[in-house]
């Protein structure tokens, strides 16, 4: 992903100063935060938006007629309109606020229960995060549908698409896949996957948890039916996420949770549903979270997502090349174009030992199965260490990472 040639180059060092948390030492060393695929840090603009909302505008939304409720409702709906613009949804009504990607994916899987029959199939990939696998396993169990998998080729972490047409022809109703793999860094060809599914009349679900804060997303150009992401992985607060759904599909779907906000009229025996998207937002939503997410989207777009993707993708490729020189290392994911993360195993050093070692040097990494256990079982490794980058990370931090991983290899491998 390259920014336009005439785009101004962001002042990355100055942007780093927008993130107050980064200015600290951990175990006596400057913090090097490389756990961004788990959650990113928040710029002052987002923190201040939360404070401003709670100090001036806090009230419950939609049902109130007083001034603060009006302000809170306006702010909440403005965030929805901003999210629609952020991913090029046709109308704000296609944006459902959720707790995060996981809830968005569960919402679809749950509400599709009445539309899936025994003998139907749900297609996912072997590189799914558990959150884009388990909800479909549950749906399959409720309905008697089968789960099918697009295979991963091997350590290079690519999807084997040679059999995709044949798979989609096997009575598949839903095809769910990750835009960027959280454990391999692979950027999947979402446009091609959606086009292929559409030819078979299959509904597509894009897990954009790892891409929304990095790549520009245009749901209409992609032609996906659903797309889910989390605010906290893109400089926003925890507890808020977005599910995009095509309006016609959302209108036809059953509600998810029942409660206030999602109803039009309630009688003792039955109720009628509010219109989309409120039908899917039972209870008081995370209003402050939506306000914070709004600020995060503004912050990211002021920098430009193509520039962010170019920056953290380059850091990941540099890290991949530097780490490849460490004796006994096994790197996963594509060697070329990749999302902003690198995942690896080290002979003689378990991921948790590597993470503990790095932590004492001030470097925050993640070790374990990264919620993709079936993938690692297939590749024959139980745990990897992952370094994931964002807009505030620097080339010097990549150098430091490579140096410390080299030390860890010597320390444990001897």
């Amino acid at each position: 992903m390259k920014p336009p040639a005439d785009a101004p180059v962001p002042d990355w060092a100055a942007l780093r100063a927008d993130f107050p948390i980064l200015d600290q030492t951990v175990h006596g060393r400057p913090l090097v935060y490389l756990d961004n695929a788990a959650t990113t840090q928040k710029p002052r603009a987002v923190i201040e938006a939360l404070v401003r909302y709670y100090e001036h505008d806090n009230a419950n939304v939609h049902r109130g007629v007083h001034e603060l409720s009006y302000r809170a409702t306006t702010a909440y709906e403005a965030a929805r309109a901003r999210a629609a613009q952020f991913i090029h949804a046709a109308v704000p009504e296609e944006i459902i606020f959720t707790r995060g990607t996981t809830e968005g994916l569960n919402l679809i899987a749950y509400t599709f229960t009445s539309r899936i029959k025994p003998g139907d199939a749900i297609l996912v990939t072997e590189m799914e995060h558990h959150s884009n696998l388990v909800p479909w396993q549950l749906l399959a169990r409720r309905t008697g549908a089968k789960l099918l998998f697009v295979p991963v080729t091997g350590d290079d972490g690519l999807l084997d698409l040679s059999g995709l047409d044949a798979l989609l022809a096997r009575n598949v109703k839903i095809f769910a896949f990750p835009h960027i793999s959280n454990s391999l860094g692979t950027i999947n060809p979402a446009l091609e996957l959606c086009a292929c599914a559409r030819r078979h009349g299959v509904i597509t679900v894009v897990d954009a948890a790892q891409s929304a804060g990095h790549l520009p997303i245009d749901v209409q150009a992609l032609g996906c039916d659903f797309l889910a992401f989390s605010g906290h992985k893109m400089a926003g607060p925890t507890g808020i996420g977005v599910l995009y759904g095509r309006q016609a599909l959302l209108e036809a779907m059953d509600p998810f949770q029942g409660g206030g906000e999602m109803i039009a009229s309630v009688q003792f025996e039955q109720s009628t549903w509010n219109k989309v998207p409120h039908k899917f937002e039972a209870g008081t939503p995370d209003i402050a979270g939506a306000v914070g997410l709004h600020a995060a989207m503004d912050y990211l777009d002021a920098i430009g997502r193509p520039a962010i993707a170019a920056h953290d993708g380059q850091l990941a490729r540099d890290a991949f090349a530097r780490l490849a020189r460490v004796p006994g290392i096994r790197l996963f994911g594509p060697a070329g174009e990749r999302g902003g993360l690198v995942s690896f195993g080290l002979a003689g050093a378990h991921a948790h030992d590597v993470v503990t070692f790095a932590d004492r040097e001030g470097i925050a990494l993640r070790g374990g199965h990264h919620c993709t256990q079936p993938l690692w079982r297939k590749l024959g490794i139980t745990a990897t260490t992952r370094a994931s980058f964002y807009l505030y990370n620097t080339a010097a931090e990549v150098d430091r990472l490579a140096e410390v991983i080299d030390q860890a290899a010597k320390f444990f491998g001897g």
Binding site: A349, T356, R360, T382, A383
Partner: protein, 145 residues
């Protein structure tokens, strides 16, 4: 603290060359353990004769703490009675949770640094939990959760 306080040479050495790391064909008790948080897996094989552990071995994959702990454990449990094994585990738990080394037991005391890393206590006790389950003849999978 210095990292070498956690990763004492006993731990690094037992991780590099785990003792009794094999299947035990003569085992009459087998128990598995796993840590769902990190995916560590371990299987402990025990051959019991009367009330004594005639032989014990393990296999598995996990961090240095879990592998070294299981390796040291097999060396310490061989020839012990069930009662002695439980007393030893109780002492080991004290060492890893309170950081109090036992002057008379340098191998177990090597794990005293673990108490400063609360998330890793489960790693240190995984093999022990599986072994105690095996000794009780419970064919359940020990889990740290």
């Amino acid at each position: 603290m210095d990292l070498t306080e956690l990763y004492q040479s006993v731990i690094l050495e037992n991780n590099r060359r785990p003792r009794n790391f094999r299947k035990l064909p003569t085992a009459n008790r087998i128990a598995a353990g796993n840590n769902p948080v990190c995916g560590d897996e371990i299987t402990v094989y025990v051959q019991i004769e009367g009330d004594r552990i005639a032989d014990i071995s393990f296999q598995g994959a996990g961090c240095a703490i879990s592998q070294a702990s299981a390796s040291v454990m097999t060396q310490r449990l061989k020839g012990r009675t069930l009662e002695e094994a439980e007393a030893l585990f109780a002492r080991f738990k004290e060492i890893v949770t309170q950081g109090k080394p036992d002057e008379e037991d340098l191998d177990l005391s090597a794990f005293a640094g673990v108490h400063q890393f609360p998330a890793r206590i489960k790693c240190a006790t995984l093999g022990w939990h599986a072994a105690i389950n095996a000794l009780h003849g419970e064919s359940v999978t020990a889990t740290t959760e």
